[in-house]
Structure formats: C-alpha cells, structure tokens
C-alpha cells in the first residue's frame, strides 16, 4: 500500500488540481448516490409525504424560502434537494450499468473480430463503421422512439451505441498482439486462445479501456438526460436528473427556475468531475508521453 503512495502515479495525482477536484466530485456523488435517501427526511416519491401547500417554494436564501427545503420545491411540494438525490441514483445507475454492458459486449466482439478475422471481422467492423458515421444521440433517440420508454430500454439503447469504441480498441490490440512472434510461438506450442487473451491482449488493452470506460459513464449520463428531456428516456415513476429538468422546463417561463436549474447543476458536477479525472487518467496512463 505504501508503494502506491510513493509511485509516480500518486505523485502526479497529488499535484494535479484536476485529478483531485475530479475525484472529489466523483466521490461526493458516490456518497450521495449510496447514502442519499438516508440523508433527507422526505421521500419525494411517496405521495403521502407530500403537501401541496409546500409547492413552488423558492430556495432558502430567497424571499419565501423555507429552511426545510433548502433548494426549493416543485409543483407537487417535492423537495428539490431530495429529488436530486433520488434522481442522481437513477442517472448514475444507468450510466454505470450501461458502461459495464457496453464494455463487456464490445470487448467480446472485439476479441472475436480480432481472433477469427475473415468474414466475422468484416461484418462486425462494418456495422461498427456504419454506426460511427451517425451521431450516437440520434441512434439512441431512434431506438427509444421505437421501443418505448423505460430504464431497461434506455440501457439497451445506450449499450447499442456504446459497444463500438470498445470493440474497435480491443480488436486493434488483439490484431497487433497475435502478430507478435512470441504469441505465434506460444500458439504453435499449443497455448489456447483464452490464455493468449489473458496474458497478452488484456494487459495491453487495459489502460485505454479504463480511460474510455471512465469517460463513457459521463457521456451516458448526458445522453440519458437528453433522452429523458425529450420524453423518450426514463419513465415518470423513475425520474432521473434529466427528467427533473424537463419537468421544471414548463414553469421556467414563469420565473420558477430552481426546479430545473439545480438538477442541471448536479449533472454538470458529476460529468465535469468524471471528465476531470478521466483527463488526468488519460495523460497519466499514456506511455507515449513519458
């Protein structure tokens, strides 16, 4: 353990403002997501706990604010702060799960394409290329419009969009590894493919995958937020931060800004934190820059 604290990684980490701020933000979110519901008195989705008399209270520092609801309330009397904590759970959950699914499927497809080559490789890469020439948001939008709303459907749409980058990276790595002489020699000696994957391909591809995966969580959070905002994302019963913003949009023009602005700030902090840390990781783990 002490070895880690003396490593070059930690040394650079402790000097990088972006790394520290980024990981601090991510940690804050992790805590909020895990412990969130225990930190607030009101469960905003328990209808019985709501009081319409509390509706549209502004944040506590403005006239009419109520210390019980530090960031104000929405049209149903829901505490914005509580809504954000609950919403963050859904947003982060979707981002993480979709990333894991994309990574798994993408890596698998990349390995298959790299090892078997031939027509399997061509087909997989062709699909990947065609997908890449279209913006992910559009593909996701289209898929959601076809299959309907729901958390599971959002996960499928995000995975359908997110696998490509892993497949390409892993395929590239696989191809360059199997060309190497020591791998050829091992194959001749009877080393099974799984061992080659384990010992040669995965170690080389691990660091780029980590960087990609980290940043992809942020990307997915943003895409999901956009989809939910457009009404083709999560259902009303499981409002993510994006859906919260949408709900607040309707009353924005009347000057009631806090129901949509604060959830947006939350998304921004989460994704910004991820990107800050991801940037640092990318620079640190890049052997070329050493």
């Amino acid at each position: 353990m002490t070895g880690f604290f003396q490593s070059e990684f930690f040394h650079n980490y402790s000097r990088s403002a972006s790394a520290i701020i980024g990981s601090a933000l991510m940690l804050t979110f992790a805590v909020a997501v895990i412990a969130g519901p225990f930190l607030v008195a009101q469960n905003p989705y328990d209808i019985a706990a709501l009081n319409l008399m509390d509706s549209y209270k502004p944040p506590v520092w403005l006239d009419g604010g109520d210390p019980q609801f530090p960031l104000g309330t929405d049209g149903q009397g829901r505490d914005v702060w509580a809504s954000i904590l609950y919403g963050a759970r859904i947003s982060v959950f979707i981002g993480l799960v979709a990333m894991i699914a994309s990574c798994t499927i993408g890596t698998l497809l990349g390995l298959i394409a790299g090892f078997y080559g031939g027509i399997v490789d061509s087909v997989i890469m062709r699909i990947a290329d065609i997908q890449l020439s279209f913006p992910s948001i559009l593909i996701a939008l289209f898929l959601m419009s076809a299959v309907g709303t729901g958390v599971d459907k959002v996960l499928i749409a995000l995975t359908a969009v997110g696998w490509v980058v892993y497949a390409r990276t892993v395929r590239g790595s696989t191809l360059s590894e199997i060309k190497k002489e020591y791998v050829q020699a091992a194959k001749v000696a009877g080393l099974p493919n799984t061992a080659i994957i384990r010992k040669h391909v995965l170690p080389n591809v691990l660091t780029p995958l980590i960087v990609i995966a980290t940043i992809q969580v942020g990307t997915f959070v943003l895409i999901e937020a956009s989809l939910s905002f457009l009404g083709v994302g999560v259902p009303i019963t499981q409002p993510s931060l994006g859906l919260l913003i949408k709900n607040g949009f309707d009353v924005l023009f009347s000057g009631l800004w806090w129901t949509s602005v604060f959830p947006g700030v939350a998304i921004m902090m989460l994704v910004f934190g991820i990107n800050l840390f991801g940037d640092f990781l990318r620079d640190e783990l890049n052997p070329r820059l050493k």
């Binding site: 913006p135 289209f142 076809a146 943003l222 937020a225 457009l230 998304i267 921004m268």
Partner: protein, 321 residues
C-alpha cells in the same frame, strides 16, 4: 479518380440501404399505424380497408419492397397527422435547421480554433489552463440545460433576447431565410449559441491536442535549427499539421450539430425539422420519422464523403484510393 468515386458511391448506397432496412424493421415492429388514420369508432371493415390502403396486409418483404421502391421515387407517404406528403413537410422546415446549424458551426470554429491554438502553444500558462477547464466544462454540460439557463437569464429575467420561435424571414434564392433580417438574427442568437457550445469545446480540445502533438515533431525542431522564429515555427509549420485531425472530426461534428438541433429546436420552439421529428415521435407519425431519418442519413454520408475529399486537398501525402 473515377474508380474512387464509383467505389464511394457504392459504399454510400450500401450504407443507406442498411439504414433503410433498420429503419423499416424497427418501424414495422412498433405499434400498428392503422389506428392513426381511422376514427375511433371505425368498423372492422373500415379498419381492414385502411390496412389495405396502407399496404399493411402484405407480408413483410413485400412491404419492404414497396417501401424501397416508393422511397427511390421520392414518395415517402403522407404524414398521419398533417395529411401532407411527409417529404414536403421536412423540406419546408429544413432551411430553419440548416440556418441554425451553420451559425452554430461558424461560431464554434471562430471561437475554438484561435483559443485552441493559443492553449496548445502555451500549454502551461494560466490563461491556457483556464481555457482548458472551460472547454472541459463545455463538454460536461447538458446542452438542453444550458439553453434553459440562457432562456431564463436573457429572455425571462433580462428580456434581451426572445425566448422562442424564429424571426422574420426574407426570401433568398427561393428559400425563406431568417438570417436575412435583423429580427431573424435576434431570434437565432440564443439557439445558435446553445447549439454551438458542445462543438466549440470539442474543437478547442482537438486543436490544442493537435498543436501539442505537432510541437514534439522533429520537423519543428529542425525548423528552429534553421533559425525560424518561435512564432513562425508555430503558425507556419505547426498549425497546418495540427489542423488535420480537426478536419477529420469536423464532419462528425457537423453531424452532431444536426442531431443536437433536435433538442435545441424543442427548447426554443424553433420550427426546424428537428422539432418536427420530436413532435412526430410523440404523435407516432411514422412517415415523417422515416423521411427525417433517411434524409439525415443521406446528409451524413455526403458529409463524410466531402470531408474525405477535403482531407486529400490539405495533406499531399493522402491520395484517393
């Protein structure tokens, strides 16, 4: 040259064909559109007749065949909602979207490239770090949220800009263009700024990365060894090389702008084809959705093709194969 063009055309056609297949399949498996066009109290006979008219009584491959052949003739069917040809509806609204996309792109390029060059040339300066932090923020923000904040500040609170809609239009070359009027600019300001932010951030980061990558190249050191000034080395030797990767993603960014325009148009009630798409998704207006997707797919493959051509013009090492 001709061989290359032919090859590309075949590739583009292939992509469009795959897209048409995917679009068709997805649309066929989602709901039954017959109920969009018959009244609620329709009899079974009327429903059956409607099915026949829509061609829904045929088998799937036959439906697809009809779909493809009419597509190639430019007939995308009628909007269920507007009872007008879907193609006409989309084309009417396309100029509005193109306007916004073009203004957003110009804004992004004009801001991002100079800032990116500066940040890449002086990577350790304070201003550079601030610029980079800003660009990172730019790619972390949900675009629609920014639009909302801008509406609140500039339209609702301060009343400087209008909060929705397109301004007055004037006719230019037979198209209705709002950029030809002051009111048009007044209306396009907020939407275009909102749309441009994401691309601006990405272009800035790529430019900076390109400059830094180029700074490590031997030919830069060699140019200095010749006695070139730091300024010359940076701008005459480095910049062109650094911008090559930027050109690569320029096409993709243009595509992204068209895609994100759907959201921006929704927020600002901008009457473009993006808003039409979203509305059509709500109303399950299938023909319009299909037209939008095919048209946009066509635009994307053409953009990619043009980017490749531009690429060969900039880099003498690349030839068309």
């Amino acid at each position: 040259m001709l061989g290359y063009l032919l090859k590309r055309l075949i590739q583009m056609a292939l992509v469009l064909w795959v897209v048409s297949l995917v679009v068709f399949l997805m649309m066929s498996f989602t709901g039954d559109p017959v109920f969009m066009i018959v009244p609620i109290d329709a009899t079974d006979a009327e429903i059956a007749q409607a099915r026949r008219i829509l061609g829904l009584d045929q088998s799937l491959p036959v439906q697809y065949w009809i779909f493809i052949t009419s597509l190639l003739q430019g007939d995308f069917g009628q909007s269920y909602v507007f009872r007008q040809p879907a193609m006409t509806l989309i084309l009417e609204r396309m100029p509005a979207t193109i306007e916004m996309v073009v203004v957003a792109m110009v804004l992004a390029v004009v801001v991002a490239i100079p800032l990116g060059v500066y940040a890449g040339a002086n990577p350790n300066g304070r201003l550079s770090r601030m610029i980079m932090a800003g660009s990172l923020l730019g790619i972390s923000l949900p675009g629609f949220w920014v639009g909302m904040v801008l509406i609140y500040l500039f339209a609702v609170h301060w009343g400087i800009f209008p909060s929705s809609g397109r301004g007055d239009t004037a006719e230019v070359f037979g198209l209705r263009v709002s950029l030809a009027t002051w009111d048009g600019w007044h209306h396009i300001a907020l939407p275009a700024i909102t749309l441009s932010l994401g691309t601006m951030a990405i272009l800035l980061r790529m430019t900076r990365a390109g400059m830094m990558e180029v700074a490590r190249q031997d030919y830069m050191k060699f140019a200095r060894a010749k006695g070139a000034t730091r300024h010359d080395v940076l701008y005459k030797h480095g910049l062109k090389n650094a911008l090559i990767p930027v050109v690569t993603i320029f096409g993709l960014q243009l595509g992204d702008l068209i895609a994100f325009a759907t959201i921006t148009e929704t927020i600002f009630s901008w009457p473009g084809m993006g808003k039409l798409l979203i509305d059509s998704i709500y109303r399950a207006d299938r023909p319009v959705i299909v037209v939008y997707l095919m048209l946009v797919a066509l635009i994307f493959v053409v953009i990619n093709f043009l980017v490749d051509i531009v690429y060969t013009l900039i880099d003498p090492r690349i030839t068309l194969k």
